[in-house]
């Protein structure tokens, strides 16, 4: 049933063919470049974010492949093009890889692309609460991206993405531009967070209480809380660093009497919660996909919902685990270690609930589900290796080794990237009204998954044997680890390009997508693919997003259509007395 054949005409959620007129959906609603650049439509903004985010992902990915290539042999491998030496060229590459990937790609990827597109749809709303702020957030993102391009062409950056003082106050590379860029990107993040919080509070339709929201909403809500609470602290940190570089205000510079460890506290007070900005939306996306593709109600809804909030709150009190070796008090270290381990509780709650959801489900192994299952695998490995780093004595050994690199790539890249790709595949039909090629999707997933694990699993071993991170060169005993890791990164790169090819082919030649290809019941599947400009032809009302009984498979359109109670199952009136989605069955009887 997963082989999709082209259906000649677009259909609505009842499986009836619908007339397609110009202006029907949000993509062809209005024409011209300006109608996109000045749009207030959350779906178009999400799509533009997607374009930008994917471009920066490509940029960060190029740096990644370059620096893996540099490390394939000991000594200098790549020609020396920029920087003072080939080693400083390497420093710049890993810095730009980290900064671009973190600030421009991972943090905005899921909230700004999938969140922007899906959040109002899932809430049954016409738009986010503040569409203009939403557009402004997009332009803040572009502004931040411009700053980073400026960094690229004006001496680069070699501080690592963390901007640790005092090196960042003394290096000759373009730290001020990079801090300003990250500052502006912070605005983008904050505005998105404010928008999501206000939307979730205010725009839920009637009948949608907090516990009838899809779990992605809970995840995005928790993310938004972090965004508005943590990002301003990064903003002031970067502002002070900027002032330090430009005006010699020495809050952090020891030469001026400042305290560099204070910078680390400030930085990680944001950047540890920022890790959860990256992972929480990914957890939400996974919750959606796992339930839909298991054709089974999500297990432990409230536990998953509250564990998102718990992770967000815990995220604020564990930042010190980045600084176990910075010389802070041992009592603080012990406390941070304990608190860090407690984050494992809500994380494990989620994983167990997903597994329980899949248990005895009717699992469809379509591409989004493969990514979601890959996510569980990577997130579990990443999470469990985090415990070694949360433990004080092992952390002393692992600190600043490839073990840390592998750990955070498993949670940040593996998990978030896989959830992003899975989410993109999941909502691809809704976004564009086209289906991608399932076979290519699976091949791409296989390559990505194998490539990722090849690249990073070996780094756990290299790191535990003492290979330090951020070194341009290595001792001979680490050679084969690096060779395998580099080859894995090539496989990963091929897999990602395959994904891109798959999407482009889907856009160009993909068959018409039905309104509900996966049989999901959250509200975005209750409208056409792609949705109309104002999202819904009728005002939706809240439904249980994880009750799939109301949809039946329709072979002719290769998608799910709403069950007609009269015809399909006269005795069936909904599982718990809820109104059927799309009720009333005959459109003339409005629910108003």
């Amino acid at each position: 049933m997963s082989v999709l054949s082209p259906t000649p005409t677009p259909t609505d959620i009842f499986g009836k063919p619908r007339d397609v007129k110009p202006g029907d959906d949000y993509i062809n609603h209005s024409k011209g470049l300006m109608s996109w650049l000045l749009t207030l439509d959350h779906k178009r903004i999400g799509l533009m974010y997607m374009g930008g985010v994917c471009l920066t992902f490509l940029l960060g990915g190029v740096f990644a492949v370059l620096l893996r290539t540099e490390l394939i042999w000991g000594g200098q491998t790549l020609p020396h093009v920029f920087g003072n030496s080939w080693e400083s060229q390497y420093n710049q590459m890993f810095t730009l890889h980290g900064a671009v990937m973190t600030f421009l790609f991972i943090i905005p990827a899921i909230p700004a692309v999938i969140g922007n597109f899906a959040l109002p749809l899932m809430l049954g709303a016409k738009d986010v609460a503040f569409p203009r702020l939403n557009l402004m957030s997009l332009y803040c993102w572009f502004g931040g991206a411009v700053f980073f391009v400026w960094v690229l062409v004006s001496g680069g950056l070699d501080t690592g993405w963390t901007f640790y003082t005092p090196y960042s106050t003394t290096t000759s590379t373009n730290v001020p531009a990079a801090t300003l860029g990250a500052f502006v990107l912070g605005f983008s993040s904050i505005l998105t967070g404010v928008n999501f919080i206000a939307s979730i509070h205010m725009l839920r339709p009637r009948d949608m209480g907090w516990f009838k929201m899809p779990l992605l909403m809970w995840a995005l809500y928790a993310t938004a809380v972090i965004q508005i609470l943590a990002t301003p602290v990064l903003a002031i940190t970067l502002l002070l660093l900027f002032a330090e570089r430009i005006m010699q205000i020495g809050i952090f510079d020891p030469a001026l009497g400042g305290d560099p460890v204070l910078f680390q506290h400030f930085f990680w007070f944001y950047s540890h919660p920022a890790v959860y900005i990256m992972i929480l939306p990914a957890l939400g996306v996974t919750s959606e996909i796992i339930s839909v593709f298991s054709r089974k109600h999500i297990f432990g809804y409230k536990f998953i919902a509250f564990s998102s909030i718990a992770i967000a709150l815990f995220g604020f009190i564990v930042w010190g685990h980045h600084m176990f070796t910075s010389g802070q008090s041992v009592y603080i270290n012990a406390l941070f270690s304990l608190l860090t381990m407690s984050v494992a509780i809500p994380s494990a709650i989620k994983v167990f609930n997903w597994l329980a959801t899949m248990w005895r489900g009717s699992i469809r192994l379509d591409t989004p589900m493969l990514y979601a299952m890959g996510f569980i695998w990577l997130f579990t490995i990443g999470g469990l290796t985090g415990l070694f780093l949360a433990t004080l004595n092992t952390d002393i050994h692992f600190h600043d080794t490839y073990f840390v690199v592998a750990h955070f790539h498993y949670v940040m890249v593996g998990s978030t990237l896989f959830a992003f790709l899975g989410g993109m595949y999941h909502w691809f039909p809704k976004m564009f009204g086209k289906m991608y090629d399932e076979r290519h999707g699976k091949i791409a997933w296989t390559l990505t998954f194998i490539g990722f694990n090849l690249t990073f699993f070996i780094q756990f071993i290299a790191g535990s044997r003492g290979m330090p991170r951020r070194y341009a060169d290595f001792l001979p005993q680490f050679h084969w680890y690096h060779v395998i890791s580099t080859l894995g990164s090539y496989v990963l790169a091929v897999g990602l390009f395959w994904v891109l090819y798959n999407w482009i082919q889907g856009l160009r030649k993909g068959p018409q997508a039905p309104a509900n290809p996966w049989g999901g019941n959250s509200l975005e599947w209750h409208t056409n693919s792609p949705p109309p400009h104002l999202n819904f032809d009728r005002d939706p009302h809240g439904v249980d997003p994880y009750r799939y009984d109301d949809w039946k498979w329709d072979e002719s359109i290769q998608g799910y259509v709403i069950r007609d109670p009269e015809k399909d199952d006269p005795a069936y009136t909904g599982a718990d007395g809820d109104p059927l989605p799309g009720e009333p069955a005959t459109p003339a009887e409005s629910h108003h």
Binding site: D12, R18, D19, V20, K21, G23, D24, D25, H29, P120, A125, K126, D127, A129, F130, P131, I190, G193, V194, N195, I197, A198, S199, H201, M202, L203, P205, I228, L229, A230, T231, P232, V233, A235, I236, T237, L240, A243, M247, Q248, I249, G250, I251, L256, G257, G258, D259, L262, F266, F269, T527, P532, H533, L534, F536, D537, R538, D539, S590, H592
Partner: protein, 403 residues
């Protein structure tokens, strides 16, 4: 939801307007087809919902502001705890009178803002306009007074970082070598500080700030009365030390006489008479070693040691002077000013942004844009303005008052 017009049936005939929503012929039009008053955005069902959303969004933004300043307050707390003598010493340089006036100005502008919101809610257009303009003027007054304070600090070289008068001479000279002296011609005098220059100017500042009417004459901020003043030509930025001072810690008049004599012998007759230094005149390093002061120069007797020459209102408490500051803290005096400028500067930026928003409100209000059902903009700008006020309420005592 109840305010919506009922959606058209799925199979309704096509609407003639090509821009209207398709997808089965919904009755929802494009953005400009409203289902309520003009100021109700298309994605809200009712004005109440819109107002609630606007306020919630603004509160979320205010939370980010609080957290942003929270970082600075934390830095303040850390540095105050680590360098308490510096903070105690430096807060005397801030003008409590001007700070208090600014507090009143800002509080008053918060009141006018609140009255403006009320006027908007009641539809009193003229009163609204008056109140907004009054609030704007409050912002102007605040920034004006702030700039008076800043310029007096600047004129006394109480900068942040290396520009600060207290910044260690050796480091300062290294900085000048890198930035200024490198570009000088061979015949141009090299800029350098001597310990004597700096010490004298510090005493001068102490005399001025601690003893002369406690604060700045804020109508003429650059003015230092003659008895506290020396000619900068003689003491600062001079072409290198000609004659090292007799001792690092000396009575105030000593470096003055010797340094000036060395610098400008012709002028000596004019200035040879000792400056009529009030205040610390009689206090020398030998006093510091007296039993009233602890080994590090910190007073061990709290509250009842009168320092000779201090004004009576300061006489009942001990506070640090240059001579009593612990040696390690002497190098860190500029830290206070770094925090001071960072906090008040960021706050000032927020005041300016608020003035911009209020200016925009004034234009809108003059056009009659606000009324009993449409005052969200006034209200949320008001919230912002109150927050700016609130932050100042914390800044004022932390920087100006406590010691």
């Amino acid at each position: 939801m109840s305010d919506h017009e009922p959606p058209a049936p799925q199979d309704a005939p096509e609407t003639p307007d090509p821009h209207a929503q398709g997808g089965g012929g919904s009755a929802h039009g494009h953005d400009h087809e409203h289902h309520g008053p003009d100021h109700l955005a298309h994605h809200f069902d009712s004005l109440e919902q819109q107002t609630e959303a606007n306020k919630l969004g603004m509160w979320a933004c205010l939370v980010t502001e609080v957290l942003m300043f929270g970082g600075l307050f934390l830095a303040y707390a850390v540095y105050r705890a680590n360098h308490f003598p510096v903070f105690e010493y430096c807060h005397w340089f801030l003008d409590t009178k001007l700070g208090a006036i600014n507090t009143v100005v800002l509080l008053a502008s918060s009141l006018t803002m609140a009255l403006g919101v009320r006027a908007a809610q009641l539809g009193q257009q003229k009163l609204l306009l008056v109140m907004l303009i009054a609030t704007f003027m409050g912002g102007v007054g605040f920034m004006g007074i702030k700039s008076v304070e800043y310029s007096s600090k600047f004129s006394h070289e109480l900068w942040w970082g290396q520009g600060n008068l207290y910044y260690p001479v050796a480091k300062k000279n290294a900085y000048y070598d890198k930035t200024v002296n490198e570009n000088l011609g061979p015949d141009q005098p090299r800029q350098a500080w001597t310990e004597a220059d700096r010490t004298y100017r510090i005493y001068e500042l102490e005399n001025y700030y601690f003893n002369y009417k406690k604060g700045v004459d804020w109508f003429t901020p650059h003015y230092i009365p003659p008895e506290y003043r020396v000619d900068p030509k003689d003491y600062a930025y001079h072409g290198g030390p000609a004659d090292p001072p007799p001792a690092p810690a000396v009575s105030v008049t000593a470096p003055s006489a010797s340094a000036r004599a060395a610098a400008d012998p012709q002028d000596d007759a004019q200035h040879a008479a000792p400056q009529p230094v009030v205040g610390l005149a009689g206090m020398t390093s030998s006093d510091i070693g007296s039993p009233a002061y602890g080994p590090s120069g910190v007073s061990t007797a709290l509250g009842d040691v009168a320092i000779e020459g201090l004004e009576p209102d300061h006489g009942h408490r001990t506070h640090y002077t240059w001579d009593t500051l612990p040696e390690a803290e002497r190098e860190r005096v500029h830290i206070f000013f770094q925090i001071y400028y960072a906090m008040t500067g960021l706050h000032g930026i927020h005041v300016v942004v608020g003035m911009g928003l209020i200016g925009w409100l004034i234009f809108r209000a003059a056009a009659g844009a606000f009324g009993p059902t449409n005052f969200d903009a006034v209200e949320i700008v008001g919230l912002y303005w109150h927050l700016v006020d609130l932050i100042w309420i914390f800044l004022f005592p932390l920087l100006y008052l406590i010691h």
